[in-house]
Symmetry: C2
Subunit: 339 residues, 2 copies
Amino acid sequence: MTKYSIGVDLGGTNLRIAAVDERGNLVEKTTLGTRVALGRDHVVNDMCEAIQQLAEKHKGSGELLGIGIGVPGIIDMETGMVRESPNLPDWTDYPVRTEIERRLGTRVILENDANSAAFGEKWLGVANDVDDMAMLTLGTGVGGGLVLGGRIWHGMAGMAGEFGHTTVEPEGALCGCGNRGCLEAYASATAVVRMAREAMASGAAPGLTRAANSGIEFNAKAVYNLANEGDEDARKIFGCVGRVLGIVLSDMVNALNLPMYVIGGGVSSAWEAFAPEMFEELRQRSMVYAATSPEASHGKGASGKVGSMGTRKTIVTRALLGSDAGLYGAARLPQANGS
Amino acid sequence: MTKYSIGVDLGGTNLRIAAVDERGNLVEKTTLGTRVALGRDHVVNDMCEAIQQLAEKHKGSGELLGIGIGVPGIIDMETGMVRESPNLPDWTDYPVRTEIERRLGTRVILENDANSAAFGEKWLGVANDVDDMAMLTLGTGVGGGLVLGGRIWHGMAGMAGEFGHTTVEPEGALCGCGNRGCLEAYASATAVVRMAREAMASGAAPGLTRAANSGIEFNAKAVYNLANEGDEDARKIFGCVGRVLGIVLSDMVNALNLPMYVIGGGVSSAWEAFAPEMFEELRQRSMVYAATSPEASHGKGASGKVGSMGTRKTIVTRALLGSDAGLYGAARLPQANGS
């Protein structure tokens, strides 16, 4: 009899539930809209019904190991309360774990959604052969997750991994968290659109202005399409995304010396537009990266200096699982819990 | 029979060797000048002679568990080579571990000096009741060390913990590492003197100028003394030190969510002069700190919001062991190695 678990990715827009077996094979996936406007009780009811249906359906064919749920926001791991959730505003201080467990009559594991995504990429994605990795998820905001020794690093209260709120411009743009100049204020989908609107407001971005007035939704994807077509103003915006990512990755490489850093989330589709600047910053700003980058052995290494660090390379790469990373990571939580 | 180990703190100026028992009691300490100018072989000979004398002397009274050596610079943990050492310029790519082991006829453990300092504070200092902590050592440069689960976090090649090279001003002052705007370029003793000279060059820092021309050595301590006497220009410099420390600590708190962050090194004597700005930045920039700072339960906590995180507080504090932290940490290495 196969063993499987149920993972949930609770987003501000979509609520996705999947049954995944121990080998990472998808058994079944359900996607619902997250009815945020109806309030948290409705959302939790929808989620619990879908979980129960899935569990009922696969009852005969496998053993259910448990349920893992990725939630956007800061989670208190001890109490199972949501502490801050910009996308689920009425969930603050809501005892979400208790509410779900009461409805389902079984224990569940809560996790921050960006931590779940990192865990998913570590299990089945680009990081599946390393034990230590960090991930940045560039979406509406910028989430972060850190996996050390094969386990999510939670810190003392489950709040670790908030790389999206690293300061990159001390006097820069105001971030939703209250700080100025966070990575999130320059590398999220929201930030891409804001920077595009700032460029338009300056009156000197004809391509962006045309796109904004075209009647088609003006979002980060639209800015990326323009950048792809060679529009200079759009390209500059992704140059900025790459620059701030490079600064934060340099900090991370210097601080943690991990073998792999993964970039995921919707904005990572614009990899070609931001990666050159990102790697340029990494090479210039991080001596650890300079000594361990994949090209180091061909560059500095020839001189016998810091490049000759052997085979231990620092890899900065795109995520592999796309929007499924968080879902798979959540499903992995009850499986990996005992390890 | 007591068990003891020998720790070495190899600095650019002083070479300190101590025998320390398992409980952290100092058995004996020797301080020599580091004869850097005579070359690395001389320094290693001096070190090995002092180690042997100490071992010989205490042969009858205890069992020697091993030898730990803190070295300034980037160390390749696998090969025991020094990769980069600004204070020991001719040591680059020197197989220091092999050379020492050959002379002593026994194994030794090499460690980065800032990692040793963090380990020392974790063992016998201010962090002795936490398992996870990070330390910044503000000296000639800014060193960093990270202890997770009671062990030094090395990353994949022993290069982790370089918090001193976190970018705080992307277009800021050039750092010795090649990057612009590193913490080290604003919070080291070297940076304090540089900022003082910059203030003097602007022609509007009479107190600093008087001190610089007084005939007494003009160093970070002299600038601190002026700040202490109320000199506005000197106070501004330490305000800057506090500001950049607050930025980097905010990043660290958000990323790692540790219970304790320790500030040591010579410049930490100026705690009163930089701490107010440092804590101000922390409160403003880090939502995790705002939710977990010691005063959070009196502030936000009263509203039942993020402050009510229970007893898990984030402590940012001065180091306790002064210049002995690295020496004790090095001595602990062979004791803790088997744990």
